[in-house]
C-alpha cells in the first residue's frame, strides 16, 4: 500500500499541475472534448490519489482497497493521468489516449486499464454501483471506503437520486460523493439548464452529511476528506465548488471548453500557464 503520510500540500499542488498538463496534452493530441471537465476536477483527484485513497498500484484488486468510481467518465483523460501518476499504468501509455488500437477510450474504461474500478461515460451509473459496494462494505464490517466523483450536470440523472435515497436510508457512512460543482454542463450553465440549488439542502433532506469546500484548495480538500465520515450513520457529500477549465485563464468559466480541444498553439500557452502556477 502506498504510504502517503508524508505527502505535503505542495506535493499535491505539483501533482495537480502534472495531471492538468497530461490532460491538456492528451486531449489536444487526440482532439477530443472535455478539457474543461478535467481541469476542474484536477485538484480533487490529486488529493484523492495523492494522499487520501488507500490503494496499492502493485495490487489493483487488493480486496481492502478504497474504491474510487469516476462517474463523470467524460473526464477520462485526467483519470488515466491519475492512474499513471499513481503507478497503475506507465506514463508513456497516456500517449495512446483515444488513439486507434489503444486501451484508453475517451470515456473512463476499466477494460485493460488497472486501477479504473468502473467504466463510465453514460452519466448516473457510478453512484448506484458505489452504493452497492458501500452496502457490501458496511454489512461485512470492512474498513475500506467508496468515493464517487460526480459532475454537477450529472445530478440531472434520476438514477442518482434513487441511490441518494437508498444510501441515506441505509446509513452508508462509508460512501462518499465528491461533487465537482463547476457550474457548467454540456450546453450551458447549470443555473440556466436545470437549477440544482439549494444542492446541499437536497442532500441533507435525503439524510446525507454535507460539507461545501473550495475544490481547488488542496489543504481544505484534505481536511474535508480527513474528517470523513462527517457524521456517523450518514453518507457524505463533499460539494467541491470548482471552476470549469481551472488553471488556464482563457478556458476558465467558459462553456466552449466542454467540447473544444486546444489547438497545438493553444496547448503551448495553456501548458505554460499551468506550469507557472
Amino acid at each position: 500500500m502506498t504510504d502517503n503520510r508524508h505527502v505535503s500540500d505542495d506535493d499535491l499542488r505539483a501533482l495537480a499541475r502534472r495531471l492538468r498538463s497530461h490532460s491538456l496534452r492528451m486531449i489536444s493530441a487526440a482532439r477530443t472534448s472535455h478539457i474543461g471537465s478535467c481541469l476542474s476536477v484536477a485538484d480533487i483527484l490529486a488529493v484523492l490519489y495523492g494522499s487520501e485513497l488507500r490503494i496499492d498500484p502493485k495490487r489493483p484488486q487488493w480486496p481492502d482497497r478504497d474504491r474510487l468510481i469516476m462517474s463523470k467518465g467524460h473526464a477520462a483523460a485526467i483519470l488515466y493521468a491519475s492512474m499513471a501518476e499513481a503507478g497503475f499504468i506507465p506514463v508513456e501509455d497516456l500517449g495512446g489516449y483515444a488513439r486507434n488500437g489503444g486501451q484508453l477510450y475517451g470515456h473512463a474504461t476499466h477494460w485493460g486499464v488497472p486501477g479504473v474500478e468502473m467504466s463510465s461515460g453514460s452519466l448516473g451509473h457510478g453512484l448506484p454501483v458505489g452504493t452497492g459496494m458501500a452496502l457490501t462494505g458496511k454489512r461485512s464490517g470492512a474498513g475500506w471506503r467508496v468515493f464517487v466523483v460526480m459532475s454537477d450536470g450529472e445530478c440531472d440523472e434520476g438514477s442518482n437520486w434513487e441511490a441518494i435515497l437508498f444510501a441515506g436510508h441505509h446509513r452508508l457512512d462509508n460512501l462518499n460523493v465528491v461533487l465537482d460543482y463547476n457550474k457548467i454542463q454540456s450546453l450551458d450553465f447549470v443555473e440556466k439548464t436545470l437549477r440544482l440549488e439549494p444542492l446541499a439542502d437536497k442532500f441533507r433532506a435525503f439524510g446525507w452529511a454535507v460539507r461545501e469546500v473550495d475544490g481547488h484548495d488542496v489543504h481544505v480538500l484534505r481536511e474535508a476528506f480527513d474528517a470523513l465520515p462527517l457524521e456517523t450513520g450518514k453518507p457524505n457529500a463533499i460539494i467541491a465548488h470548482t471552476i470549469k477549465g481551472k488553471g488556464v485563464s482563457w478556458m476558465e468559466g467558459k462553456v466552449l471548453w466542454h467540447y473544444r480541444p486546444p489547438s497545438p498553439d493553444e496547448l503551448v500557452t495553456a501548458l505554460a500557464e499551468v506550469e507557472a502556477s
Binding site: M118, P128, V129, L135, E162, L165
Partner: protein, 313 residues
C-alpha cells in the same frame, strides 16, 4: 416456476453467503422466507430499478452473487442501460430475474406484458439468456446461474405452471433437452410454451407423425447443433414461445437456419404478434388471441404441413 426459483435460491443462500437477492419492491408472498432466513443477503431496493441494478453490480464487484428480482419489463427494459454497461460490460456476477415473462400478468395491462425482453437481453454481449420450460427447469436454471460466473438473465413465468419433466433431466446451459425424438416434425419450445408443445406433440404423434420436442431453455448461447440437426433430420421446424416472434427464440433459430446449406427443413415461428394487445384478457385468453393455445398451435402446424405438401405435390 416462481416457487421453484425461490426454493432453489433459499437452498443456495443457505450454503453460500455470497448469494444475495435484491428486489425492486416486488415479490409479495414470494420473497418473505428468503428475507427472514437471510437478512444480510437480502435488500429491497425500493421502486427504483436503475438503482437496483447498480446496487447489484456494486455488490457483485465486491464478491457477491446477486440476483435481482422484479416483473418482466421493470426488471429488464427499465434499467437496460445499467444491464448493458454495468452488468454485461463489467461481466458482473449479476443474475437478472424477471417474473411474469410473456402474458403471465395478462389482465394487468400492456405495461406488464413482457413480450420483447428476450430479444433485447439476447442482444447484449456476455449475457446468458435462459427461459425455463417448467418448474423443474426453473430450479435447475437457478442452480446453474449460481454455478456459472457472470451475467445471466432468468425469465420466469409465475406460479402453477405444469411440470413437463417427470424425472429430473440433465440440464446443461446452452444444450437443448430432447423431451421426445422424431424425424418428421421438430418443435423447439422455450418457457411456459414447453407444456403446450408437449401436448401438441402427443396429438401429432397420435396422428402418425414422428415428433421431436426440444426444450430450448437457453436462448443465448443457443444450441446451434440441436437446431442444425433438427433442420437436417426433420422436414418442419416450429418454434414456440410466449414472446414476440421478432428476436426471441424464433428469431435466434431463424438466424441459425438462414445460414445453413440449402435443403433443410421449413421453419415456422409461433409466438406473439409484435403488437400491443388492445383487448383485456388473462394469460390464457390473450394467448388464444395470439394463437398460442393448444388447439391453435396444432392447427397452425397442420396448416403448414398441408400447405407445404400441396406446394410440393
Amino acid at each position: 416456476m416462481r416457487t421453484a426459483f425461490i426454493q432453489a435460491l433459499n437452498e443456495l443462500a443457505d450454503r453460500d453467503e455470497r448469494v444475495c437477492l435484491v428486489v425492486g419492491d416486488l415479490g409479495y408472498s414470494v420473497i418473505e422466507e428468503f428475507a427472514t432466513r437471510h437478512p444480510d443477503q437480502f435488500v429491497n431496493a425500493g421502486v427504483s430499478e436503475q438503482n437496483m441494478i447498480g446496487l447489484a453490480v456494486g455488490m457483485a464487484l465486491t464478491g457477491k452473487i446477486v440476483f435481482t428480482y422484479s416483473i418482466g419489463n421493470f426488471a429488464t427494459l427499465r434499467c437496460i442501460e445499467q444491464i448493458r454497461n454495468d452488468v454485461c460490460y463489467h461481466r458482473a456476477n449479476v443474475k437478472v430475474v424477471a417474473v411474469g415473462g410473456g402474458l403471465a400478468y395478462g389482465n394487468l395491462g400492456v405495461t406488464h406484458h413482457a413480450s420483447e425482453d428476450v430479444a433485447i437481453m439476447r442482444a447484449l454481449p456476455n449475457m446468458t439468456v435462459v427461459s425455463p420450460g417448467d418448474p423443474v427447469e426453473a430450479g435447475l436454471a437457478t442452480r446453474a446461474a449460481v454455478a456459472q460466473d457472470g451475467p445471466f438473465y432468468l425469465r420466469l413465468g409465475k406460479a402453477g405452471e405444469p411440470v413437463v419433466h417427470q424425472a429430473e433431466p440433465a440440464f446443461v446451459l446452452g444444450r437443448a433437452i430432447t423431451v421426445r425424438d422424431g424425424s418428421d416434425v421438430a418443435l423447439i419450445a422455450s418457457g411456459g410454451m414447453l407444456a403446450t408443445a408437449d401436448r401438441v406433440a402427443r396429438r401429432l404423434s397420435d396422428q402418425g407423425l414422428a415428433v421431436r420436442l426440444l426444450s430450448m431453455h437457453t436462448i443465448k448461447p443457443l444450441d446451434r447443433d440441436a437446431v442444425a440437426c433438427a433442420a437436417a433430420e426433420t422436414r418442419y421446424v416450429f418454434t414456440l414461445e410466449e414472446h414476440s416472434v421478432e428476436g426471441g427464440l424464433g428469431g435466434a433459430v431463424a438466424e441459425v437456419m438462414a445460414e445453413l446449406e440449402p435443403g433443410h427443413a421449413t421453419l415456422k415461428r409461433i409466438g406473439l404478434r409484435p403488437e400491443f394487445n388492445k383487448t383485456v384478457g388473462d394469460q390464457n385468453y390473450l394467448k388464444a388471441m395470439h394463437g398460442l393455445d393448444e388447439d391453435s398451435v396444432l392447427k397452425t402446424i397442420q396448416q403448414v404441413i398441408t400447405r407445404s405438401y400441396g406446394r410440393v405435390g
